[in-house]
């Protein structure tokens, strides 16, 4: 046992230098050299102001003139109260399948959507738009989720529905590598396009 102290501690320290220090630092260096944009977290700037990260969803819900993302169940770290799209504390709702909170939340969201969107019926709402995501930071919504929001966005932005439909179509992302996952819309991207349309 005592004779093993040297290899135990030695292997711990040497591998620490290799795997705990060299590996991440070298990878960081290489990544920033080769793919600096991605390595830095895919920041998105508008007029020199950092408005978000391309892959991280944001809370657009307070603004009816933007497209909204999926419900987010993240909380504030300090207060423990709901704080949607809190990237500092990614989290799901953890509501189980027979949770009454789950069902009442969904019903509330449906009601809110119906209230805020002219002409919308429950039968048009995709389930993903009323069920909260796994990270609370889901950047995407389905195409249908974007299309049903057009009447509301049109109402508040005074842009025509057909223009918005075109916008949605132009910002539809195909499956990853053209093969995997689903067709979707990055909400930040769509709203950026919307922003540009409004501010150009």
């Amino acid at each position: 046992m005592v004779r093993m102290f040297r290899p135990m501690i030695g292997v711990t320290l040497l591998l620490w230098v290799l795997l705990g220090l060299l590996f991440p630092l070298v990878m960081t260096g290489v990544s920033n050299l080769v793919m600096p944009y991605q390595a830095q977290g895919s920041p998105v700037y508008v007029n020199g102001v950092l408005v978000g990260a391309a892959h991280v969803g944001q809370n657009f819900q307070p603004s009816p003139d933007y497209f909204w993302g999926r419900p987010s169940a993240t909380l504030s770290v300090s207060t423990g109260k709901a704080k949607p799209y809190n990237a500092f504390a990614s989290a799901p709702s953890n509501n189980g399948p027979t949770s009454s909170a789950l069902i009442s939340d969904i019903k509330q969201r449906i009601a809110y959507l119906l209230k805020t969107t002219p002409g919308l019926t429950t039968g048009q709402i995709p389930v993903s738009l009323v069920e909260s995501s796994g990270s609370g930071l889901d950047p995407d919504i389905s195409v249908q989720s974007a299309l049903i929001q057009i009447p509301r966005v049109a109402k508040y932005t005074h842009l025509s529905e057909s223009f918005l439909t075109g916008l949605v179509k132009n910002n539809t992302l195909g499956p990853s590598m053209g093969l995997f996952g689903r067709t979707r819309i990055n909400v930040l991207e769509l709203n950026l396009a919307l922003y540009k349309a409004l501010h150009s």
């Binding site: 990544s31 950092l50 809370n59 799901p92 399948p97 027979t98 689903r182 930040l188």
Partner: protein, 564 residues
């Protein structure tokens, strides 16, 4: 099934199928010290390490020495990690000024990462400094799976009639020859997909909606790579691989899924090459593979059908999207979750607590069995344990005392296999019973009804299986769970591994009985069927009551639209 699901599954499964042979053969070369193409970049490094610590490839250990080296080194890691986590506030690479961890959380985290469980009672993005993330936790995510793999390798050596080898040599070689090279490749692919790899501080974004958003960054890609290649599963952030920072696309999701399975599956073939019984390796792979497919189906179809209570609301689409990310699709999510439960990784790309009961059953099956490939090496040992019990129970029916690999299975082997078999349900059921019996344990429950029981059960099962995922509703940051689960991960890790190590040595010492037509052959479809049946029945008998009270009860209540 959508085209995207089919494609995703086919690609992942095809990669597993294609790589099993080359990885197994490559591993056999590495661990019999034959030359490989990586000698040039890493050979000098390894030789240097061996010289400094005073071991050589020839210094073979006994099972006891190997076990002591394994446990002793793990102890060094726990102490080191505990110490560094406690004082992370005064260490460098702490741009967000995170404070040092409290003693209980530091213990729980050190124990859980050292045992390769990676259960997290904290949220990474708001608790850990960059140094703790890469200098402590990411480091442990290299060496602890390597240590588990080393034990598996030692047992395979014993089963193949070789001496056990040296723990420190195996540990180093798993790191340099398997994990590190793969990690470099995977890191770069993930960065390409948009996973950050930086030491820069978190972003403060001013959103279009006029709010501010603090966006965490860090050396996440290198973390993700080893998290999955080592079947670790500790997330850089709380939401783990559901977080777009860790897993930004359906393709990165596939890469992470594949990373989890490469080595555990290859390990099966490694055994085949080492023992010269490739057919047996395929047989065992087929058994584990069928279980994997059953788990996959269970994790997919109920989710696509959706929650009947929600379906009754009359929305446009069905399908349970609670806790799921849109970009992966149902197919990508289900295969990631199946992989993470099968290979005992424990990372998640969605919230397990929000899965429907039958899908939860799939997760429980993965952790109960703990050998649907499992963590590399360790999962294989569990498979061998079931093989030995099965052979012993059924093998008598051919009229010979049971034998495996030409070695007679006698009292000692049966005792050790029984111990290894017994520990798992013991930890899970007794742990859950204690938690459910005590107010401190009940305090952590989030969901009502059977799902609440499931949360506690999932916690202890995950700890015992060294999986690390959770029914996230459980308040694991309570002292009760930090201590109880900390103890369970330790026993779950070492007790069964030691038993299997001794079992390997005991078989090694035995004379080999030649195979005849009177021997029960273990490399046939018949045996695969028997093994499959025995595994299902033995585990069903053990866990059926608790499954009846948990997921099955939840399923029936859900069908009855019962809410809690």
């Amino acid at each position: 099934m959508s085209l995207s699901t089919v494609l995703t599954w086919i690609v992942v499964l095809a990669v597993f199928l294609i790589t099993i042979k080359p990885i197994g053969q490559y591993m056999a070369k590495v661990f019999t010290y034959q030359p490989t193409f990586l000698d040039r970049p890493f050979g000098w490094l390894e030789n240097g390490i061996f010289r400094v610590i005073g071991v050589s490839r020839e210094s073979d250990m006994t099972a006891k020495q190997y076990g002591i080296a394994f446990v002793g080194t793990n102890l060094v890691w726990v102490l080191l990690a505990y110490f560094l986590l406690r004082i992370q506030n005064i260490l460098p690479f702490n741009p967000q000024h995170m404070s040092g961890l409290n003693p209980l959380l530091a213990f729980n985290t050190a124990a859980s990462f050292t045992t390769n469980t990676n259960w997290q009672a904290y949220s990474g993005e708001n608790t850990m400094s960059y140094f703790s993330q890469f200098g402590v936790l990411s480091y442990l995510q290299f060496v602890t799976p390597a240590a588990g793999g080393a034990v598996g390798i030692a047992v395979v050596r014993a089963l193949s009639g070789r001496k056990l080898g040296n723990f420190f040599v195996d540990l180093t070689l798993v790191c340099t020859r398997l994990l590190l090279p793969l990690a470099i490749v995977v890191t770069l692919i993930l960065v390409g997909q948009g996973v950050p790899e930086t030491l820069g501080a978190y972003f403060q974004a001013h959103t279009l909606g006029g709010q501010t958003q603090l966006i965490p960054r860090g050396p996440i890609a290198s973390w993700e790579a080893i998290e999955h290649l080592g079947q670790n599963g500790g997330g850089f952030t709380n939401a783990n691989s559901a977080n777009p920072l860790e897993n930004p696309s359906a393709f990165s999701n596939i890469i992470e899924t594949i990373s989890m399975g490469l080595l555990p599956i290859g390990f099966f073939y490694f055994f085949g090459v080492m023992t010269g019984r490739r057919k047996l390796a395929w047989t065992l792979t087929a058994v584990a593979g069928s279980l994997f497919m059953i788990m996959l189906a269970l994790a997919y179809f109920p989710e696509v059908a959706g929650n009947p209570i929600v379906n009754s609301l009359g929305l446009a689409t069905h399908g349970n999207m609670v806790g799921k990310e849109l970009r992966f699709g149902m197919g990508g999510t289900s295969i990631f979750e199946t992989a993470t439960m099968a290979f005992t990784t424990g990372s998640v790309a969605s919230a397990h607590d929000s899965f429907l009961p039958l899908s939860s059953l799939s997760f429980f099956i993965g952790m109960f069995l703990n050998m649907v490939f499992g963590g590399k090496g360790v999962g294989f040992l569990n498979m061998i344990m079931f093989v030995i019990i099965t052979i012993f129970l059924m093998g008598l029916m051919v009229g010979r005392t049971p034998e495996f690999l030409g070695k007679k299975i006698e009292t000692k082997e049966v005792t050790l296999a029984s111990i290894a078999f017994l520990i798992h349900p013991l930890l899970i059921l007794v742990g859950t019973a204690i938690a459910i019996h005590s107010p401190a344990g009940l305090k952590g429950v989030y969901n009502g009804g059977p799902q609440g029981l499931g949360e506690i059960l999932y916690g202890f099962t995950s700890a015992a299986a060294n999986n690390g995922s959770a029914f996230g509703g459980l308040g694991a940051a309570l002292p009760f769970y930090e201590i109880a689960l900390g103890i369970v991960v330790i026993i779950g890790r070492y007790a069964s591994v030691m038993a299997m190590l001794l079992l390997g040595q005991s078989l090694l010492k035995k004379k080999t009985v030649p195979e005849t037509s009177g021997t029960m052959h273990t490399d046939t479809p018949l045996f695969a069927g028997i093994l499959f049946g025995a595994i299902i029945i033995l585990n069903a008998l053990t866990f059926f009551p608790i499954m009846a009270l948990g997921p099955l009860a939840e399923q029936y209540l859900m069908l009855a639209h019962h809410l809690f």
